[in-house]
C-alpha cells in the first residue's frame, strides 16, 4: 500500500494525521458549510451583514418554507425529475444495445462507429447548439421537457456506449460462444445471457447519468425558457436574479436543488464511483 499506512508511522506523525484529517476536511467543505449555515439565517442577519458570525437564531423551517412558497422551485424540481428519469432510462437502454453490438460482434465498421460515439461525447456543446435548437424548434418541442429529454438521451448515448462496450468486452466470451453453439438466436443471447450480466454497469451508468443530467445547466438554458419546463439548475439561476442579496433564500434554494443527486450519491456510492472511474485502472 502506498503511502505507508499511518498505523505503521511514528506516534507523532499519527497524531498529526488524525488531527489534520478533520481540519483539512473542514477547510475543504467551508463553502458548503457556509451555505448550510446561511440557509438557516434570518433575513435580519443578512441585512446586518452578519454572513459569517454566529446566527441570531435558527430559521430553518421559515427559510425553506419561504423558498417553496414564494418561488416555483417545487415545479422546477419536478421538471428536473421529468427530464432526468426518462433520460437515464433512454440513454441506458440505447447504450445497452449499442454497447452489445460493438462489444460482441466483429465487423469492419465496428471501431469506426465506436470512435464516432467516443469523439462525439467530447465535442464542445456550442458546436451543436444552433442546429439542435433549430431542430427542436422545427419539431415543435422547443421549451418542452420532451425536447430536452430527446437531446440528452442522444448525447449521453455517446458516453454510455463507451462505458457499456468496454464493460461487455471484459465479460467472458465463452458464455456467448456456448449459446451460439446451442443455436440460441442473437436476440435471445442479448436478452437472456448478456443483459443480466450487465446489471452492475447499468446501475453505475444510471447513477452517473442521473447526476450529469440533473446538474445540466447549458442545455436547459438553450432549449427551455418558461417556468413550465425549466429544470432546477436554470430555475435557481433565474431565482438568484429575483432574490438579489437574499442570500439565505439563495442558499436554501441551492441546497434543495443539490439534494437529489447528493442523496443518490450517498445511497449508491459504490456504483457511482465504479462508473466514474472506469478506465482509471487497467
Amino acid at each position: 500500500m502506498f503511502p505507508t499506512p499511518i498505523a505503521r508511522a511514528r506516534p507523532s506523525v499519527r497524531t498529526i494525521y488524525m488531527f489534520g484529517l478533520p481540519v483539512s476536511l473542514f477547510i475543504w467543505l467551508i463553502p458548503l458549510l457556509a451555505v448550510m449555515l446561511t440557509s438557516i439565517r434570518s433575513a435580519g442577519d443578512i441585512a446586518a451583514g452578519n454572513y459569517w458570525g454566529w446566527p441570531q437564531g435558527i430559521f430553518l423551517v421559515e427559510n425553506y418554507m419561504a423558498v417553496f412558497q414564494n418561488s416555483p422551485i417545487a415545479a422546477f424540481i419536478l421538471n428536473s425529475f421529468k427530464v432526468t428519469i426518462p433520460t437515464v432510462i433512454g440513454a441506458v437502454a440505447l447504450s445497452c444495445l449499442t454497447g452489445f453490438a460493438l462489444g460482441v460482434y466483429r465487423f469492419k465498421a465496428n471501431l469506426l462507429i465506436f470512435f464516432m460515439f467516443v469523439a462525439g461525447n467530447f465535442v464542445p456543446f456550442q458546436i451543436l447548439m444552433v442546429p439542435v435548437r433549430d431542430l427542436t424548434l422545427k419539431m415543435g418541442m422547443y421549451d418542452t421537457v420532451t425536447g430536452l429529454v430527446l437531446f440528452h438521451i442522444a448525447f449521453q448515448t455517446g458516453f454510455c456506449t463507451l462505458f457499456m462496450r468496454n464493460f461487455i468486452r471484459a465479460l467472458p466470451k465463452a458464455l456467448i460462444e456456448a449459446a451460439r453453439v446451442e443455436g440460441v438466436s442473437e436476440l435471445r443471447i442479448f436478452w437472456f445471457i448478456v443483459l443480466p450480466l450487465m446489471r452492475p454497469a447499468i446501475a453505475a451508468l444510471a447513477v452517473l447519468i442521473f447526476t450529469f443530467i440533473w446538474n445540466d445547466y447549458f442545455w436547459a438554458t438553450v432549449l427551455v425558457q418558461g417556468e413550465h419546463a425549466m429544470p432546477v439548475t436554470a430555475g435557481l439561476y433565474s431565482l438568484n436574479g429575483q432574490w438579489i442579496a437574499s442570500w439565505h433564500l439563495v442558499s436554501a434554494g441551492s441546497i434543495v436543488a443539490a439534494l437529489p443527486p447528493v442523496a443518490m450519491f450517498f445511497l449508491l456510492q459504490r456504483h457511482f464511483i465504479a462508473g466514474l472511474t472506469l478506465g482509471a485502472v487497467k
Partner: protein, 302 residues
C-alpha cells in the same frame, strides 16, 4: 431452431451479420441526428449571416475574417488558454489529496465521500457560492483581507483577477474528481512492487515517482482528458459568476459563442457558429489524441 436445415431462413443464416446493425440502429440514429449531423450543420451556418428569424445570407468566410479582428475573440482565446493551464492544477492536487486520504483509519470511507462531495453538486450552486465568497463587502475573502488589514479585493469585478477567480471555483469540484480517479488507481497498485521498492530503499518521493506513478498512468490519462475537456467546456461558471464581465474580460470561447448566438444582445447565429467551429477545432486536437491512444490500446488488446 426447430427448422430443418434446408428451411433455415435468411435471418437465421445471416443473423450474426445483421444483428449488430439492428442493435446499433436506434442509438446511431439518435446520435447522428443530435450530435454528428449538427457538427456539420454548424460548420455550414458559420458561412452565413443569420439572425435566427429572417433569411440566411451566404457570406463565405467573412465571419472568420471578422473573428481575426475581434478583441473579444482574443480575450476569450487567451482566457481559454489560462483555463487549460490552471485547470490542470486539479490533476496534481487530486493526486496529493488521494495520497493523503489513502489510509485505513476509522471513518475514512465517510471522509473520502465528503471530500468528493463538491463534484456531485451542480456548477450553478458552486458558482453562486463562490460568487458570494468573493463579494467585496460581505464575502469571506473580503473578511479575511480585512482581518489582516488589507483593502478587500473585488475579484470578480477586476479584469486582472476575474478569470483566476472563476478557475479557482472550478478547481474545487475538478480536484475532487481527479482525487477519486487516483484513489481508485491507488487501490489497484500492486503491493508487491511497493514492497520490492521498499526493499530497494525507495521511499517517499522516489517511491512515488518511480514505482507508484507509472502504475497510475491510466488514472492520470483519464484525469488529464477530463480536465482538458472540462477547461474547454467551461461555460456554467462564467455564466453564473460574471456573465463574462467586467466588460467582457472573463469571457471564454464557449461563453462568447453563446453570447453572440443566443443571448439578449446576440442572435448572430453565423458568427456564433464560427466561434464554435474554432472551439471545436481546438478540442479536436485533444480528441484525436485520445482516440489515437485508444486505437493503440485496442490493437494491443487484440
Amino acid at each position: 431452431m426447430a427448422d430443418s436445415i434446408a428451411g433455415k431462413s435468411y435471418w437465421h443464416q445471416n443473423q450474426r451479420r445483421i444483428a449488430p446493425w439492428i442493435f446499433l440502429a436506434p442509438g446511431v440514429f439518435m446520435f447522428a441526428v443530435y450530435v454528428i449531423i449538427p457538427i456539420f450543420q454548424s460548420m455550414e451556418i458559420s458561412l452565413y449571416d443569420w439572425d435566427g428569424i429572417g433569411e440566411k445570407t451566404f457570406i463565405g468566410i467573412e465571419n472568420y475574417i471578422e473573428l481575426l479582428d475581434d478583441e473579444a475573440f482574443y480575450t476569450s482565446l487567451i482566457n481559454n488558454l489560462l483555463w487549460l493551464l490552471f485547470y490542470m492544477l486539479a490533476v496534481p492536487a487530486g493526486l496529493f489529496m488521494s495520497l493523503f486520504l489513502n489510509q485505513t483509519v476509522f471513518g475514512i470511507r465517510l471522509v473520502k465521500s465528503l471530500f468528493f462531495f463538491p463534484f456531485v453538486i451542480s456548477q450553478v450552486v458552486v458558482g453562486l457560492v463562490f460568487a458570494w465568497f468573493y463579494d467585496p463587502t460581505f464575502g469571506l475573502l473580503a473578511l479575511i483581507f480585512k482581518t489582516f488589514g488589507f483593502q478587500p479585493l473585488a475579484v470578480l469585478a477586476d479584469e486582472r483577477y476575474v478569470t483566476y477567480g472563476i478557475i479557482f471555483a472550478g478547481l474545487w469540484p475538478q480536484t475532487a474528481y481527479c482525487m477519486i480517479l487516483y484513489l481508485t488507481g491507488l487501490n489497484a497498485v500492486d503491493p508487491e512492487q511497493i514492497e520490492a521498492g521498499r526493499l530497494d530503499g525507495a521511499k517517499g518521493w522516489r517511491m512515488l515517482w518511480h514505482v507508484v506513478l507509472p502504475q497510475l498512468r491510466p488514472a492520470t490519462f483519464i484525469a488529464v482528458v477530463v480536465t482538458v475537456i472540462g477547461a474547454l467546456r467551461s461555460f456554467d461558471l462564467v455564466s453564473i459568476m460574471t456573465d463574462g464581465g467586467p466588460y467582457g474580460s472573463s469571457r471564454v470561447l464557449a461563453y462568447y459563442m453563446y453570447e453572440q448566438a443566443l443571448s439578449e444582445y446576440g442572435f448572430r447565429m453565423g458568427y456564433g457558429a464560427a466561434i464554435a467551429v474554432v472551439l471545436f477545432v481546438i478540442m479536436m486536437v485533444y480528441i484525436s489524441g485520445f482516440l489515437w491512444s485508444m486505437y493503440r490500446q485496442e490493437r494491443e488488446g487484440r
